[in-house]
């Protein structure tokens, strides 16, 4: 329905909406995060859920102890190569539709430990990340901003058509391969179907 007609009707006191809007409105205001933290960023995540920053305003204070009940994974902290298979398996065990926030420099790129032999250089090598937050650690305000960014993203998702999100697409993969903790590195070291490194334009 076009916006002008909707505005006209709402001026007359008639509220019109679509199933899509109702569905997205409900989903974006009840994001339940999976309760787990990997390193110091988790402290900021906990602070965000407490009274001063009050994540409950966004309907997301219910940190679930089981992936079956969660639909948002906040990867808060350094992902070591030993831990990466567990994180991917937890993501696979979450119910659809599910979203991922990579919180902090470590989760998005390895951060200050990027040169470490045991540090995964970004969780987006294995699972699809919806929102990246830079910072070491990001302040709770940054996490709130990521939440609002994710809410805007959910609000814009369509129920059908070619641009529908992957959870509505029966052809999209249900699970992402869990890497093995091998002798030298994770095997495979990345999921090429997900991770598309940016091409750096080199001059000269």
């Amino acid at each position: 329905m076009d916006d002008r007609l909707r505005n006209e009707l709402s001026r007359q006191g008639i509220f019109v909406t679509t199933f899509e809007d109702l569905y997205n409105w409900g989903r974006k205001n009840s994001l339940w995060p999976l309760g787990f933290g990997l390193a110091c960023c988790a402290i900021e995540m906990i602070a965000t859920s407490m009274a001063r920053w009050d994540l409950a305003r966004f309907g997301a204070e219910v940190f679930r102890p089981s992936p079956r009940q969660a639909d948002l994974m906040i990867v808060a902290g350094t992902v070591t190569k030993k831990m990466a298979p567990q994180v991917v398996r937890l993501y696979n065990q979450m119910a659809e539709p599910k979203y991922v926030i990579a919180m902090g420099a470590c989760a998005i790129s390895g951060g200050p430990f990027k040169q470490g032999y045991n540090v995964l250089k970004g969780i987006d090598r294995f699972i699809p990340v919806d929102v990246h937050i830079p910072g070491c650690p990001p302040r709770p305000e940054a996490l709130l901003h990521a939440f609002m960014t994710l809410q805007r993203k959910i609000d814009g998702q369509t129920l059908s058509g070619a641009t529908r999100p992957r959870h509505l697409d029966p052809e999209a993969p249900a699970e992402f391969p869990v890497p093995d903790f091998g002798g030298r590195d994770l095997e495979p070291p990345r999921n090429p179907g997900i991770w598309r490194p940016p091409a750096l334009p080199r001059e000269g």
Binding site: Y23, S66, P67, R68, P85, Q86, V87, R89, L90, N92, Q93, E96, P97, L159, S160, H167, L168, D169, P170, A172, A174, E175, V178
Partner: protein
């Protein structure tokens, strides 16, 4: 609608039907929504047992030895004894004779349980 004298319980039947529909219709709508808009995305990892991200090892149907009730009993003896001995010791100086005797009786009852466990050989570590 008047149920009349022939069907005095018609209202109850109608309410029953309404109650059942009240529960079933949202479930049916949710199932319809899931069928139309949310395809099931099942997979071996998703269906697997949740164990904090680890692969589960062995069977979940583990048997516990039934003899553990002895440990529970012995624990109870020491636990209850410690619970009451502390206030007993604190107010020991000002207690009348009757209270001391009652407390001794109580402790002796617990000690009897300990003697029983000792006789049974529970206290020997095997």
């Amino acid at each position: 609608m008047n149920p009349g004298p022939d069907h005095p319980y018609l209202f109850l039947a109608l309410l029953m039907a309404a109650a059942v529909l009240f529960a079933l219709i949202p479930l049916a709508l949710a199932r319809l929504w899931a069928w139309k808009f949310a395809p099931a995305k099942a997979g071996p990892t998703k269906q697997a047992i949740y164990e904090c991200g680890l692969e589960s090892r062995g069977d979940a149907w583990v048997q516990f030895r039934s003899e553990y009730y002895l440990y529970a009993l012995v624990f109870l003896i020491f636990d209850v004894e410690a619970l009451f001995l502390l206030p007993f010791a604190v107010s020991f100086g000002g207690l009348p004779v009757g209270a001391v005797l009652a407390m001794l009786m109580f402790v002796l009852l617990l000690v009897e349980g300990l003697v029983w466990a000792w006789q049974k050989g529970v206290l020997t570590w095997k």
